[in-house]
Amino acid sequence: MVDLINLFESMLRIRMVEETIAEKYSEQEMRCPTHFCLGQEAIPVGVSIHLRKADYVYSGHRSHGHYLAKGGSLKAMISEIYGKQTGCALGRGGSQHLNDLDAGFIASAPILGGTIPIAVGSVYSINSNVNDRVSVVYFGDGATEEGVFHEALNFASVKKLPVIFVCENNLYSVHSSFDVRQPKDRNISDIGPAHKIPSFRGNGNDIEEVMEIAGNAINTARDGGGPFLLEFMTYRWLEHCGPNEDLHLSYRTKEEMDEWLANCPIRLFENKLREKNILSDKIRVEIEEKISDEINSAFEYAKNSPFPDPQTLFNYTYPKN
């Protein structure tokens, strides 16, 4: 049985981590492009609940939630954003290049669609016996416009690989709305069937719906059922890149934003838990304090960590043989 409080805590943790990054970003010590997932927390949590440590997860530019939900080290992530040697990529990558091999979070990278085929290849196996590791790759609606997305679906389908393609459709690619980029009335989940891949679409702000859809796909894939394509509808609250709101840019309306804010995945779930008497003010405060402590110590750790020694600049152009 899923521990519902755990789910709630996991979402809240992503939320609070992001809020803290946003708050401290203006100190100008996190000197790298940073994409926030505030408002989109339900998807990685609802997916990850079905994943094992050995499973692989990949992401793109907006990856904090995916990384944390899979169990990636918070300290290593914050340090990475601070450009420190203790970062998960030794400061080489920044916010856009998270990885934590111990947690099975393999890689995120900002080139759109870039990690999608990599996720596919990583569960290729020359042994005919079923590999019970699954691979999850998250990407936005914009990334599905890249041809490589279709190429990856095709190959995963030919080889029936256990890949869960998770599209977080937040209606925008930077400031461009869906309809200038894709046929207005098509769902991204329509693309799966063209490659003989079962596909589902759901409300990405409803963690229970995410959990159900993702669970079904992941378990089936794990049992040799081949790839799945999942589309979850959601919404980004902050600007495309950076810690601020951006309603003043007028590419989206206040009404639209308000509607989605009202649809906050955490509040919606919190209300349910409270109705069921699973969550109380007391528990909530305890959770918050626990998360706060963790965040504080992660930031302290990051800030106190050393920068990479410039003399090591060339260390990783080539691996040792």
Binding site: R31, P33, G93, Q96, R181, P308
Partner: protein, 352 residues
């Protein structure tokens, strides 16, 4: 004499080109959007409509092919990549189709497309967002490749590029966008095949591209206080390369530094040095130096980026080395190690 910023000069070139020729189309993700490609296309959609100021899917390869198709319909597309790194997804269409389009049908077809490639540095752009691939395009017959440095050239060369019947690849450095310069209001053209002497001097020739020209001028200014007269040349046009202007200068100074925004190895500086030596193998009185990105991917951490991206300091060190000066006499001690050089000016506060 009106001064405007580099990004405004590009904007003006777009506006005037679109007004002069109904067939000019601009396309790229976010081109009609509220921030308009760092201001360079902002508001154009209000005048010219969304069919000429065209938003598009993130399909770099496909949309390059679409742009080529548009030329068949008589249009002159300007395609924008917010980072040159994204154009790697379009390399087949660019290199196999666009560059060869005129040649491979025996001159019957033209591909008058302008590609605006934005390059940059700083604020942790990192490995996939701060390459500078001019050497790639320069290696492919069929492209013209230009790198305007001043606001004046940004406007004039973009106007020329749009009129040109060849595909033209323009590299624009983000750190030039807020630098201003004298820019006439009326439309004008700047040739796409001429380097420009930015500063005259007899002691050493510093040939540079794009933003590195500013760093070279900064270096030259400091050096001049120590009696070293540098000749600084803005290459501007990589293909065709105006080697004669460079040769004339080096013939005089007999000393050469080439400073480029790209990776040094197998980069454009090598071509410049080779051509000079092919013209005169005893041209130089001392060892030439190439300044550019060292041989590793762009690191994100500011402590590494600080060493990775070359600055005027590196040019000064190179000059001292070549001319056998004591660098300690020339270099100003840098203020404080907490102050990173990863922003163009203090107004820049991220996030990209």
């Amino acid at each position: 004499m009106r001064k405007i910023k580099y990004f405004e000069a590009i904007h003006e070139a777009h506006y005037q080109s679109m007004q002069a020729d109904d067939n000019v189309i601009i396309l790229g993700l976010g081109v009609p959007g509220p921030t308009g490609i760092f201001g360079t296309t902002k508001g154009l959609v209000d005048t010219f409509g969304k069919d000429r100021v065209l938003d598009m899917p993130s399909s770099e390869q496909g949309m390059t092919g679409v742009a080529l198709g548009m030329t068949i319909a008589g249009y002159k597309p300007v395609m924008i990549h917010m980072r040159v790194d994204f154009s790697t997804l379009a390399m087949d269409q660019m290199v196999n189709q666009v560059a060869k389009w005129h040649f491979m049908y025996g001159g019957k077809m033209n591909a008058p497309i302008v590609f605006r490639m934005i390059i940059g540095r700083g604020w942790g752009q990192g490995p996939q967002h701060s390459q500078s691939l001019q050497a790639w395009f320069a290696h492919i017959p069929g492209f013209k490749v230009i790198m305007p440095t001043t606001a004046y050239d940004a406007k004039g060369m973009l106007i020329s590029a749009i009129k040109d019947n060849s595909p033209v690849v323009i590299f624009e450095h983000r750190w030039l966008y807020n630098v201003d310069g004298i820019v006439p209001k009326d439309p004008y053209e700047v040739n796409l095949d001429k380097a420009k002497v930015m500063l005259e001097g007899n002691d050493i020739t510093i040939v540079a591209t794009s933003y590195m020209v500013l760093e070279a001028l900064k270096a030259a200014e400091l050096l001049s206080k120590h009696g070293i007269k540098s000749e600084v040349i803005d290459i501007r046009s990589i293909v065709p390369l105006d080697i004669d202007t460079i040769y004339t200068s080096v013939k005089k100074t007999r000393s050469l530094i080439v400073a480029d925004t790209g990776t040094v190895n197998f980069g454009i500086s090598a071509e410049i040095i080779s051509r000079l030596i092919e013209m005169d193998h005893s041209l130089l009185n001392n060892l030439p130096k190439r300044i550019g990105l060292p041989f590793c991917p762009s690191p994100t951490s500011p402590s590494l980026a600080e060493k990775f991206f070359p600055r005027s300091k590196d040019i000064i060190l190179a000059v001292c080395d070549i001319l056998e000066l004591d660098e300690k006499n020339v270099l100003v001690k840098e203020s404080d190690s907490k102050h990173w050089h990863d922003v163009p000016d203090s107004s820049f506060t991220g996030p990209y």
